[in-house]
Structure formats: C-alpha cells, structure tokens
Amino acid sequence: MEIIATRPKSLTKAQFTYCPGCTHGISHRLVAEAMDELGMRNKTMGVCPVGCSVLAYNFFDCDMAEAAHGRAPALATGMKRARPDMHVFTYQGDGDLIAIGTAEIVHAANRGEHFSVFFVNNAIYGMTGGQMAPTTLPGMKTTTSPYGRDEKDIGYPIRACELLATLEAPYYIERVSLLSPQHVIKAKKAVYKAMKFNKEERGFTFIEFVSTCPTNWGYEPMKAFEWAKENMLPFFKLGVFKDKSIEEEGK
C-alpha cells in the first residue's frame, strides 16, 4: 500500500498544545513539510516566539532557540551570521512581530537577512487571554478593547506585508490564509517557495498566515473560519507583495 500522507519528519511526536480550530497546527505542518521536501531539516535552525507557539521548539524537530517577546529576528540574525552555512527561520505571532518586535522585524528585513519569517496573524493575543493585538480589526472587541477597537484612539491595524514590501531588500513577501482547504494548498506553495529561496540563499522571505483564534474570538471553530473570511480577508488582502525571483528569472 502506498503511503500518501504521513507525519512530517520535521515535526516531533509531541502532541500540539493548541485549541480546537486553531490554525497553528496547520502552519507548523506546512513549515515542516517544506523542510522535509527540501531536505533541509538537518541544516536548519528555528526561532520560536513568545505567544501560543512559545513551545514550538517541542514540535519542530530541528535545532531551535526560544526568543524573548519580539526579538526572534535579532536572534535569527545572530544565528545566521554565526552559521552562514545553515538555514534559519522564525515563527512569530502578531503581537510579537508587529507590536513589541516591530524594530527587529523591520531592520532584519531591511538588512535582507537570509532567513524566512513565518508570521501568524490572528488579530489577537492568544496566550495571554485575548488582548488587543496590533492587527485587531477596527471595532473588534478584546479583553483590552472591551468597547471595540477604536481606531481614532488607538490607530488602525498594521499590515505587516505591505509595510515590509516598501523596503528594498526583502526577496519574497506573501500573505496567505489557512481558512479553507483551497487556502491551505496555496499557503503550502508559498511556504515551500519561501523555504526554497531560503535554501538557495536568495535573501529575506516572509509569509503571513491569516489565522484563527476561536477561543479568544469566542466562536466555535467553523464560525471562526467564516468570521475570518468575512472580516479579516477584506482588510488583510491575500497576495504576493514582493517576489524578486520574477525579475531574476525573467518570468
């Protein structure tokens, strides 16, 4: 019998600690599958963030470092500079990446650091119990925006891909979502591409996953997917924001 689906080798056997309907499991798997398919596992080091995926070093079966909140791109810079012969990725949430770690991600991208960033945007702080994130939508209620995010008071959500795409150095920036099987198939291609460019030392690559947080949004899993499609996708538009391979390869 032919095995057509199995657990990626780049994931450990540890059971995920994520809530039902959370998409971290999918994004972990996509990164691990890309590592497997590209044969990168034993040449790769990852950095996990502070947030729900703080224990990701238990799940990715490669060498891993646990960063302070927001500092993953700085750690990754140190790791890649120390071991230029290895491949490095970071896995970060929205509060980590575009609130407390804004300086680190902007400058790592601006230096064109040779690593991949996987950015999970679910518009909320999951692990600390559902507080407002830099990507929380206008009007969205969280435990620290109990009357709904007031953009006049606290500003609009930040679109990380669009912001980073203004920089010269980044090689590849794409926003995908994990909200339906079709979306996941597209996301898989984007993750593969980012890791392939990583392996080929082409430069800084960045994938944003529009993700869910049913627990803190207060929706059942299926309702959370629908809510995200209706509310997040109009604001966080899917697509490729930068792809230098197109000009390099003359496609």
Binding site: Y57, A65, A74, G78, R81
Partner: protein, 360 residues
C-alpha cells in the same frame, strides 16, 4: 615580547577581543564607547568576522544570544543607558546558560546623564540588572592594559561557566590613551576548536548525523519544580565561581596601615596616587582594589584589616554603592567612611589625600 602600542582603551579592548577569538560583534553607537564599535566595523571584515550595527541595544544583545546559542565567541558593548536596554537579553542569556561578553563603558547617570566617566552602574552590574535570579561575572579594569587583558580572560570565563561576563570600564579608561601590549592572537584553528567545546549543548545542525539530535536554546520552563532545579543548578555554578574566581589587587597593604581604602577602576587609580603621596609623608594607607566586582573579594578585605587600621574608606564615582558590599565584608567590625563624586566628576589625588588626612 610584543611591542607596546599607544591606544585608547576602547580600541584596545576591541583589538584584544579579536585576538581572543571573537568573530561576531553586534552593537549600537553610544558615547563614550564609539571607538569600540568603530574599531570593530573596521577590523572585523579583515579577520573574516561579522560586524552588525544593530537597530538598538536590545537587538544587539539578542543577536549575541542567537550567535552564542551557536557556540561562538561573541561580544557586544555599550555605555550605561544602552546597557540598561540590554538587561532583558542578559537575563535570557543567563537563563539559557550561554556564554557572552558585554562591555560597559560607564558614563554619568541616571537617565541620559552625561558622557563623563562614572561608576553609577555598580548595583546594576553586580546585582544582575535584569529580572530573575542570576549573576554576571563583573571585571573592573583600572588601566588600558588591564582593560585589554580582560578580553581573553572574559571569553575564557564565559566559556568555562557558560555565563555573561561584564567588563565594567568607564569613560576615562575607554577614552584614555596608554601603552598596551597584546597577547598573541588565536589562530583560526584555535578558534574553531573553542567552538567545538560547546557542541554538547549548542545549536549545530549536522546533515551528516544519522540520528539527528535536537538542540534547544531556552530559558522557559513552565513546571515550577523543574524551573526550581534549573535555578538551583545556576546557583551551584555561582557558588563555584565565588570560590575560585575572585580577583583583587593589594596596594601598600602592611601592618602599619592606619586606613584601609577600597576602590575599583578609575577611583582606585586616583586613590593609589594619594596613597603614594601620603607614604612620602610617612603615613601608611592600604588599598584593596577589587578586580572582580562579582564575585566580590570580601575575605581579602577582611584579612587586610590589620591591627592599626582605624577606619575603612570606600571611594567611588557614585553616591555609594560598592560600600554596601564593603560593609557586608567587614561585618560591622570598623566604621566605613565614604568619598564619592557623581555627575561624571572625578575626584583628584589631592582631594583623596585631603579626605584621608581628615579621617586619620
């Protein structure tokens, strides 16, 4: 014997770090340590190393965290306000038991303060500075030569104990030019070997390794029982360091001493001049100069209290911080007097002499 060269302290420590096998350096500019980052930017490419001017001191220390997690000799430097920013990373590096060397060319504070030499960061340096239970080894130079010699020492100690070693200099030692003689530079082979000693714990993916081993660099442990064991293990290391790594200098210590001075760094240097002057007048004053501020040479101070010593005098370029450790060391046996200057001002040998004469 190598030739002596005339160099600023900031340049000398940079050159000595390169010779000690430091091939990665991350920092952000700040006065009065700018010559250090500038020297590294110029010389690192020439030795095939990595220099990155980071976006902040926070980023710099986290780059150190990443590179150290790969088992490499790595350094950052700054001056007081920048060192405050690095405390987050220093705590994480300590929690993850990683080696790193951090240089603080101390200036006047608090806040932005000024850019003159000071010793106001003693508490921050010796009490940990960041959150949680941890210690840094703190080395305090008083000459440019000693500053330079501390680079190889700091890297060796950092590697041996997997600990942060903080070199606590100041704006005077950083900016001053003095003749300095360097230890021979490590060869690339020797540097490679130094990295290998960390392979049992550091991240080093190996594609040829059939049974891949999963190396994790981490300071997180959610189980309080396990975290307790980890912190108690750190304590064992600290106890060992307190037993074996105390360094100090005795200056003019004799049974005739009437006053015992305790001072470090620039303050000690000035105190020595005053002691020399008083000696000419037949007055015997001793000095203990702590070289390691942590671990602190408590026993050495206690033993230096000879029968004629009437008073202890602690001299610092701050409001009185090390004086706490001096008082703990002598356990209330004698009164402890204090002479200090703040705001980046430095007392003169004449002023120190006058102070000693006043309390004699």
């Amino acid at each position: 014997m190598a030739d002596k060269v005339l160099m600023k302290g900031n340049e000398a420590i940079a050159e000595a770090a390169l010779r000690a096998g430091c091939r990665l350096y991350f920092a952000y500019p700040i006065t009065p340590q700018s010559e250090l980052i500038e020297y590294m930017s110029k010389m690192m490419p020439k030795v095939g190393g990595t220099f990155v001017q980071s976006e902040s001191e926070i980023a710099a220390i986290n780059m150190v965290y990443g590179a150290s997690g790969c088992g490499k000799r790595v350094m950052t430097s700054s001056s007081s306000p920048g060192i405050s920013l690095k405390q987050e990373g220093i705590s994480y590096i300590s929690g993850a038991s990683l080696p790193a060397v951090v240089v603080n060319v101390v200036r006047g504070g608090p806040g932005l303060g000024d850019i003159q030499p000071a010793q106001g960061d003693y508490y921050q340096a010796t009490r940990g500075g960041g959150h949680g239970d941890y210690r840094n080894i703190v080395l305090a130079p008083s000459t440019v030569q000693e500053f330079a010699d501390m680079a190889p020492l700091a890297f060796d100690l950092a590697d041996k104990y997997r600990i942060v070693v903080l070199i606590l200099s100041d704006g005077l030692i950083g900016q001053m030019m003095e003749p300095v003689e360097f230890q021979p530079a490590k060869t690339e082979e020797e540097i490679e070997e130094l990295g290998k000693q960390h392979e049992s714990w550091c991240m080093h993916p190996n594609e040829d390794e059939p049974n891949h081993h999963h190396h994790i660099i981490n300071s997180l442990e959610l189980d309080p029982n396990v975290l307790s064991d980890l912190v108690l293990n750190l304590e064992k290391k600290y106890i060992e360091i307190e037993k074996t790594e105390i360094r100090f200098e005795k200056y003019n210590i004799s049974p005739d001493n009437e006053i015992l001075c305790v001072a470090y760094g620039t303050a000690a240097r000035i105190t020595k001049s005053a002691i020399d002057e008083l000696k000419k007048e037949g007055k015997s004053i001793g000095l203990i100069r702590p070289i390691t501020l942590w671990p602190f040479p408590s026993e050495a101070i206690k033993q230096a209290i000879n029968q004629n010593v009437k008073k202890i005098l602690t001299l610092e370029l701050n409001l009185g911080q090390m004086i706490d450790d001096v008082r703990l060391a002598i356990e209330g046996k004698l009164p402890v007097d204090f002479m200090g200057r703040v705001g980046g001002l430095v007392f003169s040998p004449e002023e120190v002499k006058a102070k000693i004469e006043e309390i004699l």
